[in-house]
Symmetry: C2
Subunit: 332 residues, 2 copies
């Protein structure tokens, strides 16, 4: 990360299994009472949850206003509330500047918003493709810094395939290459690359940005692009927020949820959505993921036949409600 | 139903709210100890669950071998096991012949497999469209017995629209009219009929047979048609059963699930699927529902970008695993 002092023994990152074992061993041996986490992506928040499970007082510092910079801003306060309710102190708009040390141990992280002491520090501030070895070998990298591949996962060298976090993925919604370091995508790409490497004709069809995360009991599903991403890319983006419920309102166990969808106002095509809730909502995001794959319009989505039963969804699925509302804003 | 004796005071059906209130009042007043349910569709099994919640000893009698005749046979034993585990006695291949009575009360139901005594009987043996009034008014009924409508929900009378359980729905997978008495479909049709009745140009795009039900803790999602339905309709049907899990195998709370998908062996097009499990699996069936709506092939489905995180699914979503396996059987 490049923060002075970050080489101290009690400052951790999490890139591989060995890092995880090291972190757990430190906790077992030193029983830290206070932890400070720098960063608020999904790895950082999973670590925060794990530390709370171990009874460690935990503070999360983040440069953005709310956790998960890639989400719609409407979700931010909901996630921040969940962290607070579960005993995690979240501090947004904080820039770390240095660690102070006491012997071989980090003592405080100094930021533009004051100093935060802790017995354990965790730094989870994003990933970059480890594509240096490829670049040195003459493999072409894309603008993202990832290895360029075609839909057969072939690099510019006809004998070298690439798959996984190091290589770019084709984003079906934006039509552009992106870096998305997720295990399920790496798995699919690996299969395609492997089949082609032994003479097959397999193609990877690209991604739609489908992902889900858990923050304590909160479930977050996402697919496609956010409204601000869409606008930045030049789409005439419109959006709709729906406050929904996980089941029919009278059904025991019902939980509130929030869905935001984004579409292109001229074509009516769906561009993305974020869904946050507590009662299986994250599992519903794939409805939207398949709609995105098929470049469906709001009109088509609003007519989808989706499974309904009172324990599992309201009569009108929140995605249908959102599409019904947002399609009125599409230019005819 | 037409079983002699069925007019007795303690023999119930469930068609509207008043029926439900009547049933509950009877239970409150008479505290029945034993109930016999005739039929094993979703209404019957929901009543069985409610009766067990009230501590009533409950037996379900059904003409078929396993509950829910519209499901893939692989699901039958799983549902039967769940009923047994929850204290419901299930008896398949039973044909009721008559009720014996004691005064105004039904005493036993006599069947080809012996007599079953109870203090309360519930009859849930399917629904038929109440389309008589339409027929008498000269409205054309289809082969299903339901009211024929076009995609604007208009009957053969240009001033009369029809929506809901009484009218036929266009099944997008089979291309044929069907009767599917479900509340969410009725809701959507009502909106289309209403918009058109006031001069709109709204169209209903048909259904894909998406539905879900809960049987105690078991969740069942279904979409499209089953293998036997497909074969009956002349599709060259192939199928794949996958035993899967609801989360990554090491994740706390993981539950086993079973997914069966059906496809057309010549086109590779997906035709349907059933998914049964316990940990949010029913909510995943809409992934398949949207794939069916878009007439996706197994090849396309196997490449879908679906949201993955360890608490919510295995790395390879069971639907992708099933599509990857089944696509090998498609004729090239």
């Amino acid at each position: 990360m490049g923060i002075p002092g970050e080489e101290a023994e009690n400052i951790f990152t999490l890139k591989d299994l060995a890092d995880g074992i090291r972190l757990r061993r430190f906790i077992d041996r030193h029983r830290p009472e206070r932890a400070v986490i720098i960063g608020a992506g999904y790895i950082s928040l999973e670590v925060a949850e794990a530390l709370r499970e171990r009874g460690v007082e935990t503070t999360v510092l983040y440069r953005g206003e709310y956790p998960y910079s890639g989400l719609e801003p409407e979700l931010g306060p909901i996630i921040a509330d969940e962290l607070k309710a579960r005993g995690v102190a979240f501090r947004g708009r904080v820039t770390p500047q240095a660690f102070t040390t006491r012997g071989a141990q980090g003592a405080q992280v100094v930021t533009d918003q004051g100093s935060f002491p802790a017995d354990l520090f965790f730094v989870g501030v994003g990933v970059q493709p480890n594509s240096e070895i490829a670049r040195e070998a003459g493999i072409v990298l894309g603008e993202t810094g990832g290895i360029q591949v075609n839909d057969r996962m072939l690099t510019n060298d006809p004998l070298i395939f690439s798959a996984g976090d190091c290589c770019e993925k084709f984003h079906r919604v934006t039509g552009k290459p992106v870096l998305v370091p997720l295990g399920d995508i790496a798995n699919k790409e690996g299969r395609v690359a492997g089949e082609n490497a032994v003479g097959g004709q397999s193609r990877f069809h690209g991604i739609v940005g489908a992902a889900c995360v858990k923050v304590f009991d909160l479930e977050i599903g996402m697919a496609g692009i956010t409204e601000s991403q869409a606008k930045r890319l030049g789409f005439p983006a419109i959006s709709q927020v729906v406050e929904a419920s996980s089941r029919v309102g009278i059904y025991p166990g019902v939980q509130q949820s929030l869905l935001k969808i984004v579409a292109d106002s001229s074509s009516g095509r769906i561009l993305g959505g974020n869904w946050i809730g507590r009662d299986g909502e994250a599992r519903k995001i794939n409805t939207l993921a398949v709609a995105l794959y098929n470049e469906m319009t709001l009109e088509e989505i609003s007519r989808l036949d989706l499974a309904y039963a009172p324990p599992f969804s309201p009569v009108w699925d929140p995605l249908l409600i959102a599409a019904n509302l947002l399609k009125r804003k599409v230019k005819k």
